[in-house]
Amino acid sequence: MSLAAACGWTFARTVVLCLLAAPLIVLIERWLRRRSDARRPFVLAILLAPFLFPELLVGYTFREFALASPARAEWLCAGLLFIRIVPVGVVALLASPASLISASAIHCRWMLLRANVGSRHEWWQLLKCYWHGPVRRMLPALSLIGLVSFQEFELAALLQTASWTDWFISAQRFGLSRAEMLQQAAWPVVMQLPLLVGAVSCWSGQQATRPLEDDVISTAAADRRSGLVIIYLGLALTCGCLIPLAIMAGNLPAGLKLLIRQPTQWTGLGREMVIASAVSVCAGLTTWFVGGAWTAVPRANRLSKNLRQGLLWPGLAGSLLLSLSAVVLLQQPWLRPIYDTPLPWVLALLVWLLPRAVLLRLWLAAVTRTEGVHLAELLESPVSSSGESTKSIAVDRTSSPTITEPPRSRIHSADLLFRLRDQPQLLGMGLLCYWAYLDLPTAYLLAPSGMPSGLVRLYNFMHFGRSAALSAESLLFFGLPLLATYLTILLFRWRRRHSGGVR
């Protein structure tokens, strides 16, 4: 398949998936808004699980099934991609500002149109209403899911479906000249351009707001559809996470036995995990802080705003194009000294993660600046309700053996603040690091010799078929960082409780 055909095919798949996903995204977003605040994190976790689950494991699980026929592989790839893009769309829509045109306004336009069916003006006004209302609100979400779908690499490679990403890896390995590679890269870049423009509009600085009251559908209608949403979530979770997890877990005992018998194997895996973790933490957290600086810059003139948004474009083009460009660039004599170092790997991850970090920052800012957080902060502040400083209380109690503990109310407020404000931020940092940990193209193309990421080795072995040892290694490789993140959060929580929330 030529590059043009591969790009065309990938683009067609993307368009179809976006169109199919759009109504479901709207449905789930409305359903989510109606969930109580207490249940929403749980539902969000279920929704996001298929997107956050390592796609390498999903591809590995379904590879044999896909090999049966190219048509089956294409259906499977499209289905699994659909499951992956819906959560992205829902989160983007949740973070989007409310529609400027309410549902009732559109309804009124329809009524006007019924009275003047032949009037071009009315039709035009109706279309404008849709454009400035629901369509405009959906655009960032659609662009983001379009980008995720169009830039798909691992799933397409493992399931062997047509994709421009696979074409580029083959071309790079085939030894296409730099000039040719850059020339050919124009195809996917141009095709992504509308999606990139739409996605960059997400970063216009607007914060999430609740929809206008009459945008919220009636409870009766929503209840009828909630069954559909629950069925979808169940299916997505089963296909996107539980089946791969069950297959891996089933192979775990036998695989672990094999691994334990081969010390070089598990020490090698441990080393690869340390390397991948160090790179991920370095790139992930640095991007987190850069993202913070990006969002903290006050609104400036148009030029500066455009320049800042321009910084996000390379990352939005996807890690594959980014890594391939880096490889081409690093062949220049003046850049050769850093070629065989971890620096290009870390830098590429930094650039790739920046848009994600900014989006996460904006999202978290919207989520964590709530009345609840403000009240918890007041509760935690050193002035008690009676006007007495809690600090002085602590000082007065120094003679007692139990006085070093902070007051109970402050422990509670610290706990509350942790859950409402700090935990989401820690999860955001963990997520960035985990994305860096899971990114195959950068590790595949930019890791220096002697410092491989286990991801590349696992990806390589996955082409040879399924085995118990490989399943166990994969589960360890992908699971241990999650465990580490969880333990880190517990540790922070414990520290916060015991420091009594001292700022």
Partner: protein, 373 residues
């Protein structure tokens, strides 16, 4: 987040960067950098054994199953000044001839070079072959009879039941190069186009060929014997036959092959199994090869690795491994598994691949237009 927390969190990436730098510095000075196109599942064990025996650390870079060999060759070409790789363990032969032509290899006639037959080594010691594989047809034995007749019938009537890896890379590229030489360009192009048009199942590597045949999706596939044995050891219903070629045509010079570029397409469908009409045709026996990269700073260690890989012990180890590689030099035959003895017989009819570089270059040029337009 409190300010104190943010401060402590800023230390984390700094710490990670320090760990990374430490790891990088620890691998840089004395490790031997090996690029390896052979399957990682088998090669890693051999290289670990080398480190165990010699104490020399080895850093290996593998390529994926789909793009192996050619990907690493191009990487070596790109990195020529200064080279990052010290030793290249290739899984085929013609890539080494190409690297030698480009002046990227260092000659070394060590103990391994001495023991390997002339057909599988460079005359000047720029590379040396060892532990070969055969190109074979893999059959799903419950679905079709295991005969060359079956292949001919399927090629003529139902190519959708045949699987093959994309010929851009690896041993399938060598297979195509041999066919290019044997049939001439036009006949191969016509055969290839015809098969693809009629639904030949192209997958991303020889392991995937094995999978689709073992699962019963296809009846027959073109693969390597090591992939076949993986399926056999898993208890799957597969059988194999060697790919055989017409002996006279295979020995034509590249110039002759170029002349024979017209009128070959008519009998293309049957061409692949000409051997069934002419018993005892040549087989395609593709050795692993190893060479030292020119400009290496660790020549002594590189030479030790070349000697180790081409030793009788390594050949025996690879013969006894799941991949059942065929020893090319003299080894104690009593230690060889039965499967390998049979393969050794077949390998004696192996076509001499060394003169095929012009055919490979021409074939690659054409394949680029086919797959990477």
């Amino acid at each position: 987040m409190t300010v104190a927390w943010n401060r402590s969190l800023i230390l984390l990436p700094v710490l990670a960067a320090l760990v990374l730098t430490g790891l990088w510095l620890s691998v840089l000075p004395d490790s031997l950098v090996v690029y390896c196109a052979h399957d990682a599942v088998y090669a890693q064990e051999i290289l670990d054994e080398f480190t165990r025996q010699t104490g020399l650390p080895v850093q290996v870079r593998f390529d994926t199953e789909a793009t192996k060999s050619l990907g690493l060759i191009n990487l070596i070409v790109q990195e020529r000044q200064p080279p990052r790789c010290d030793v290249f363990w290739n899984n085929e032969l013609l890539g080494m001839v190409e690297l030698r032509e480009q002046g990227l290899l260092e000659p070394y006639q060590g103990s391994g070079w001495q023991r390997i037959p002339e057909q599988y080594r460079d005359a000047d010691g720029y590379w040396v072959g060892f532990a070969a594989r055969m190109r074979v047809y893999i059959f799903h034995r419950d679905q079709v009879p295991v005969t060359e007749e079956t292949i001919r019938d399927l090629i003529e009537l139902e190519p959708a039941r045949i699987a093959m890896a994309k010929p851009l890379f690896g041993t399938t590229l060598t297979h195509y190069t041999v066919l290019w030489q044997l049939w001439g360009a036009e006949r191969l192009k016509a055969w290839h186009a015809d098969l693809r048009l009629r639904g030949l199942r192209e997958v991303d590597g020889n392991a995937a060929v094995k999978d689709v045949v073992a699962m019963g999706t296809c009846d027959v596939g073109f693969t390597d014997n090591d992939d076949f044995f993986v399926a056999l050891d898993d208890g799957l219903p597969v059988e194999m036959l060697p790919v055989r070629l017409m002996s006279m045509a295979a020995n034509r010079s590249p110039a002759d092959a170029d002349k024979a570029t017209t009128g070959g397409g008519s009998s293309a469908a049957a061409g692949q199994v000409d051997s069934s009409r002419e018993a005892g045709g040549l087989t395609i026996c593709i050795p692993n090869t190893v060479g030292i990269i020119k400009g290496t700073r660790r020549q002594g260690a590189a030479q030790r690795l070349v000697d180790f890989l081409t030793s009788a012990d390594t050949e025996l180890a690879l013969a006894r491994a799941k991949s059942r590689q065929i020893p090319l030099g003299p080894v104690d035959s009593s230690q060889l598994p039965d499967d390998v003895r049979k393969l050794t017989e077949w390998s004696r009819d192996g076509v001499d691949l060394r003169p095929l570089l012009p055919a490979r270059r021409a074939c690659l040029k054409w394949l680029q237009t086919e797959y990477l337009k």
